[in-house]
């Protein structure tokens, strides 16, 4: 299943490549990865979506923590959280297609960024599923270009894990094991 991790790292050169190198080396398959600044200038924040079993997800957290520049790893997969993905899509839309595409854009609350003779460019922000559905409906008109940023995530409510938390991992929790992992 897809796991979503929010990873707080020190804002230093080379940290992104350390994280990516770790995932590559251990064979963890990244579905999407975003990185950006936060409210603290010395801290960057990544959202990493990985296809992994529960057991593999725990090892991903443990290995990520071993990187000296990693401050906190928060697995928000099963937490109330907002997940957002920004998509730009350029659709072929001349003549009568144009109004149909604009109609779809309105229903999905996608913003129209550019209208040209042969195309319309939309901006869509939302959960991944909603974006997937819009793209599906636009496909018959011809998707000329699509770019997606990948997911960014934030927990709902005022409570976010503090960066001072010493042990956010629960060592030795081995209850809900994925049996598939070890038969491999």
């Amino acid at each position: 299943m897809l796991h979503t991790f929010v990873v707080y790292v020190e804002n230093k050169p080379g940290v992104l490549s350390r994280v990516v190198s770790l995932f590559r080396r251990r064979g963890f398959n990244i579905d999407s990865l975003t990185v950006g600044r936060t409210e603290k200038p010395e801290v960057s924040r990544m959202t990493i979506v990985v296809d992994a079993s529960e057991d593999a997800a725990r090892r991903i957290m443990a290995n990520t923590y071993k990187l000296v520049n990693v401050l906190l790893v928060d697995d928000v997969t099963n937490e109330p959280a907002i997940l957002r993905d920004l998509t730009l899509v350029k659709v072929g839309a001349a003549h009568e297609a144009r109004s149909q595409v604009l109609e779809l854009a309105e229903v999905f609350r996608a913003r129209v960024l550019d209208i040209a003779a042969e195309s319309i460019t939309l901006e869509m922000t939302g959960g991944e599923e909603k974006v997937d559905r819009l793209l599906e409906l636009l496909t018959p008109y011809g998707l000329l270009e699509v770019v997606r940023t990948g997911v960014v995530a934030m927990r709902r409510g005022a409570k976010s894990p503090g960066l001072d938390a010493k042990t956010a991992v629960a060592p030795g929790a081995v209850d809900d094991v994925d049996p598939a992992f070890h038969s491999a």
Binding site: Y8, V9, E10, P13, G14, S17, R18, S21, L22, R25, D55, R58, R59, A62, N63, Y65, K66, L67, V68, N69, V70, L71, L72, L163, K166, T167, V169, A170, P171, G172, V174, V177, H182, S183
Partner: protein
């Protein structure tokens, strides 16, 4: 401004920082990009040992660290100097050995321009260092050194590399040691288990009838030798050792069964398969100790004590994990362990041992052949009483050493386990001797591995180190030949190995050298080596096609061991 801090170059700050970290020796090789640092060495009390190849420098730092429990330091220039360190860094990473590697780098303005001798060594070593630093300014040097030492030796130890540009070495700034303290907000080397995990562990121990401790390198790293022994004695639990754990519990201790795994003792592997509880202390269930995971210890619950959370459930699914420092965890557990009588279980294991004696090459009378096992056994008898460190390379001789040299003391065996690096022994032995000058160091390589790094013979002579080298020379890349014999229809492709006359080679370096072909000559030659006050080289020309038994084939079950054929073979050559 009351306390004026001295203005210093980055180079002088480097050596001063190393001094403050307690460094007295570094192993290195100069070159263009590290020259400013070498120029400043004249101001330092640190002794520099000139190696013959940078790989040697890293193995020396590693051997130093393993012999002393401290941090070893290696120095090289940029580009090829730095890339030559890669094998040694990977070796230290796999065996959790704390070393700090310092490399020169081209000037910061040239970074990324493919300048002469420029290599992105922080990029290259990213996956094989615990952490690394690229330092481009003099005022970052002290801080990088302080953090590097802290990271290298804390938690699960490992190698750290500091790459310092030439202008950072030449630049000048205030040397402020206090301000250079580590600032590692995210680094957490000191995890400790939750209360309920202790309870679960204690319950499993109470319920077990056939428990077994698996003792690994972590016992030595944590310094938990006494605690492990007390724990085993109190609960009457036998102990099986990993290769890197040997010496953590005296081999002569009645609960010490010996080595487990691919070339472990047969009774040890059988005991693992029959146990109902495994207590893994500072080991990581490497494939060389587990064999096939599907059939590994099928009846056993498992308790895993390790400082690295990422090792938990990596290879073997465990029932209880205690993540933290082994010594502290055992101190917590010890008073709560109920004394137990495990005599029935121990008697059973003793019976398993009896089966092995008839297959032991040790029991073969002298038939004119020289067997490696006999050499190792005689060497052990002659050197067991002193403070002896044996440093082995990788292959058959390494396994024979592990089987027949009975290590009584911690840090008396130094060998490359995880990476299996041929060429490790000679330079690692140099590091061990520099770190513990009063110990007798015996470097025991095969004829293959020795030829990979034998250029360091010159280092031994130049540094006037009393090191004894006992080459186990069988004219083959022996372990690969053994695999070819067992698994590739005896197709000895690329394993017959020509060597120089090692005795003459040693003499060319001015090293007192011997060649030994008969068993009767082993003991007198070892004694002569001990009596000689300089370095000694002995070329033990042993039986060419002997194999290491027992053996669990790669991927096979621990229950499925290839045993030495009985009656003991009269090998080859009378034909």
């Amino acid at each position: 401004m009351g306390s004026e801090k001295p203005m210093m170059t980055g180079s002088r700050i480097l050596w001063s920082s190393l001094e403050r970290e307690g460094v007295r020796h570094v192993f290195g090789y100069p070159g263009g990009a590290i020259l400013p640092a070498y120029d400043a060495l004249k101001h330092s009390s640190i002794r520099h040992i000139l190696v013959r190849h940078e790989q040697g420098a890293t193995h020396m730092a590693d051997g130093f660290a393993r012999a002393t429990g401290g941090v070893g330091v290696a120095v090289a220039t940029s580009g090829p100097g730095a890339t030559n360190m890669v094998t040694g860094i990977a070796t230290a990473m796999m065996d959790s050995s704390p070393i700090v590697c310092i490399t020169g780098q081209v000037g910061s303005k040239l970074l990324g321009s493919d300048a002469f001798q420029e290599t992105d060594i922080t990029g290259v070593t990213l996956p094989i260092t615990k952490h690394n630093y690229l330092v481009t300014r003099a005022d970052e040097v002290a801080h990088a050194v302080r953090e590097a030492f802290y990271v290298a030796k804390s938690g699960r130890p490992g190698p750290v590399l500091i790459d310092i540009t030439k202008d950072a070495q030449q630049g000048t700034c205030e040397f402020d040691w206090e301000a250079a303290a580590p600032r590692l907000r995210g680094y957490r080397p000191d995890l400790s288990p939750a209360k309920e995990e202790y309870e679960k562990a204690l319950q499993l121990i109470r319920e077990s009838k056939r428990p077994l401790i698996l003792g690994g390198h972590g016992i030595l790293v944590s310094g938990a030798m006494q605690e492990v022994q007390a724990f085993a004695e109190r609960a009457s639990i036998p102990v099986a050792m990993t290769l890197l754990g040997l010496g953590a519990l005296p081999a002569s201790h009645f609960l010490n069964l010996g080595m487990m795994g691919m070339h472990g003792e047969a009774w040890v592997n059988t005991t693992i398969q029959e146990a109902d509880l495994l207590l893994a202390f500072g080991m990581r269930f490497d494939d060389r100790v587990t064999g096939n995971l599907k059939t590994y210890a099928p009846n056993a619950k498992k308790i895993h004590v390790d400082i690295d959370l990422a090792e938990i459930n990596k290879n073997v699914k465990v029932d209880v994990a205690l993540v933290g420092d082994l010594r502290k965890i055992l101190q917590e557990l010890l008073p709560r362990i109920e004394p137990k009588n495990g005599q029935k279980w121990l008697d059973h294991i003793l019976r398993l041992k009896g089966d092995t004696a008839v297959r032991d090459i040790q029991n073969l009378p002298d038939n004119g052949h020289l067997y490696a096992a006999h050499v190792i056994n005689d060497l052990w008898h002659e050197t067991r009483d002193g403070d002896t460190i044996v440093v082995t390379d990788v292959g058959q001789h390494q396994m024979w050493e592990a089987q027949y040299y009975k290590h009584e003391h911690p840090r008396s065996l130094i060998t490359s386990g995880g990476l299996g690096t041929m060429g490790f022994a000679l330079p690692a032995g140099i590091g061990a001797k520099v770190g513990r000058p009063d110990a007798d160091v015996w470097v025991v390589p095969g004829d293959g591995g020795f030829q990979m790094t034998m250029s360091e013979l010159a280092t031994i002579v130049q540094e006037n180190l009393k090191i004894n080298i006992a080459i186990i020379n069988n004219g083959y890349l022996g372990m690969v030949r053994q695999w070819q014999e067992f698994f590739y229809d005896k197709n000895y492709e690329a394993t017959p190995l020509l060597s120089p006359d090692f005795k003459k080679l040693g003499e060319a370096y001015g090293i007192h050298s011997f060649a030994v072909k008969h068993r009767a000559d082993v003991v007198p030659t070892v004694r002569a080596a001990k009596a000689h006050d300089g370095p000694v080289l002995i070329d033990f020309q042993v039986e060419q096609e002997d194999s290491v038994y027992p053996m669990v084939a790669a991927g096979a079950s621990l229950s499925d061991m290839i045993r030495r054929p009985t009656p003991l073979v009269e090998t080859a050559q009378d034909e």
